[in-house]
């Protein structure tokens, strides 16, 4: 079965995630936009290094089969 058949669902999912929406699909899991703030670390040379913030998507498996 081709993914093209599900293109409408995928497009909708993508659209919602880009809008910052948390999307939960029963039986599959949850896609969640996550913002990581700037963080500071000390490298092996003892210097302070600033890592830029980052927006990404996390996926959490729906192990319970529930739907938030």
């Amino acid at each position: 079965m081709s993914n093209e058949k599900f293109q409408d669902i995928i497009s909708l999912l993508k659209e919602q995630l880009l809008a910052g929406e948390h999307v939960s699909v029963k039986g599959l899991g949850s896609f969640k936009p996550v913002h990581q703030t700037q963080r500071f670390q000390t490298d092996e040379k003892g210097r302070s290094v600033a890592h830029p913030p980052e927006d990404t998507i996390e996926f959490i498996t729906d192990e319970t089969g529930g739907d938030s």
Partner: protein, 438 residues
């Protein structure tokens, strides 16, 4: 949004009934499950892949979608912000550079100077000695003979050095031989007549004068060898400035609205940007609010560019240390070059609010956005500027992402000052910033 919301959206978007939408979603989930069980991986095109690792399901974001999601921070890379460490890293480089220059100078210039200072007087000594020697020998003064022979030896050595350096013509060799002869033939020459001595003296003086002129002209030629190089570099620099003005700055100066205007107007500017980007050159231009300030802004911009040339290697090196697997990006000077004359009196050099100060580009700033769309960046720039912040837009040429427009606010001397300023920011900005060097 849960499954019911998703189904409702599908119904609305595709104009299908709810059962059909439910069936689609259910079928999609079954399809993913089947792929996972057979391949251990299920692709969601444009979003990512679900990968079965043991009993756990791992999600890998599609790189393209990751960029879309992270559009605000594209091109940003970790930077070293320890001022004390940075100074420690940079100073040796500067010192090395200075040492190199000094070494070069000490190798080239001083030696030339030494040659001029030492050799030429020695030749004068030769000429004088040649005359006085003959005269004095003719007068058979024993005391002066010893002194002169020593001086002649020194003179001969100096001339030998000159021979090696200048590759003197044949006229010089007999001269040296002749100069050596006086030591051996002094007693014989003392018996020659004064007329012969005078003739020899005149001939010697003439040769010395000719040789001195040759040596001087040779050295002048040596020194002038660097002039075409510097002239060439100057011409290239001027041509680059003229080209930048002609093809990029001038259209924008003539039509400042293009920076924040409609997309049609923007299109007339973007080709210039693309051409610059393709040439892997950082892009900079002032945002001119007032055409009367154009000259001042150009001056300030040129200062920015000059400081960029001096400072750009250091951040690149730092970023390479922090993340060697990432490609370097080039951050140009902020576009909002403002003449010091336009800064309100009493405004501190650094700060979060006020007017952008081109003199304060040696510190840090709070980056809020890194956008691929120039118009969007300009809108953000204008938004924060209207809110009273020192708003900056810096073009960032990234090998990975291409040309990006980094929008930031504030100019701070240190990272700590920048962190303190964050406390003054509204919540929506305070959670989405990134401190970086200007």
């Amino acid at each position: 949004m849960n499954s019911n919301d998703l189904i409702a959206l599908l119904v609305q978007k595709l104009s299908i009934d709810e059962e059909q939408a439910e069936g689609m979603v259910s079928e999609w989930i079954q399809h993913l499950g089947a792929e996972l069980s057979t391949n251990g991986q299920a692709d969601i095109p444009g979003i990512g892949s679900l990968i079965l690792e043991g009993s756990k399901l791992h999600f890998e974001l599609d790189p393209g979608f990751a960029m879309e999601v992270n559009y605000k921070y594209l091109g940003m890379k970790p930077i070293v912000i320890s001022d004390d460490i940075n100074i420690g890293l940079k100073e040796p480089e500067v010192e090395d550079a200075i040492d190199d220059e000094v070494e070069e100078d000490s190798v080239l210039a001083p030696s030339d100077t030494v040659e001029m200072d030492e050799v030429l007087p020695s030749e004068e000594v030769i000429a004088d000695e040649g005359a006085s020697d003959d005269e004095e020998v003719a007068e058979t003064e024993d005391v002066s003979e010893g002194t002169e022979s020593e001086e002649l030896t020194v003179t001969e050595e100096a001339e030998e050095i000159q021979e090696e350096e200048v590759q003197a013509d044949e006229d010089f060799e007999p001269e040296g031989e002749e100069d050596e002869e006086p030591d051996e033939a002094e007693p014989e020459q003392s018996e020659e007549s004064e007329e012969e001595t005078e003739e020899l003296d005149e001939a010697t003086k003439a040769r010395k004068a000719r040789r001195t002129a040759e040596l001087r002209s040779t050295r002048k030629e040596k020194k002038s060898n660097n002039i075409p190089l510097w002239v060439g570099l100057g011409v290239i620099l001027i041509a680059a400035i003229v080209a930048g003005w002609q093809f990029y700055l001038q259209p924008v100066m003539q039509n400042p609205a293009s920076l924040v205007g409609s997309s049609e107007e923007l299109n007339t500017v973007i080709p210039g940007v693309d051409s610059l980007q393709s040439a892997d050159q950082p892009v900079s231009q002032p945002i001119s609010e007032d055409n009367q300030q154009v000259d001042q802004q150009e001056e300030a911009l040129s200062q920015n560019l000059a400081s960029e040339v001096q400072e750009s290697p250091a951040p690149a090196a730092e970023e390479a240390v922090v993340s060697s697997n990432k490609k370097d990006s080039v951050v140009s000077a902020p576009l909002n070059a403002t003449s010091p004359n336009n800064i309100p009196p009493g405004q501190p050099k650094y700060g979060l609010t006020g007017v952008f100060n081109s003199q304060a580009n040696d510190g840090y700033t709070l980056v809020l956005f890194s956008l691929s769309n120039r118009q969007s960046a300009m809108e953000k720039y204008q938004l924060y500027r209207d809110q009273g912040y020192r708003s900056l837009v810096s073009p960032v040429t990234s090998e990975r992402y291409g040309l990006m427009w980094r929008v930031s606010i504030g100019q701070f001397a240190t990272v700590n000052e920048a962190l303190s300023a964050v406390e003054e920011l509204p919540t929506e900005l305070a959670k989405d910033y990134f401190i970086t060097k200007i």
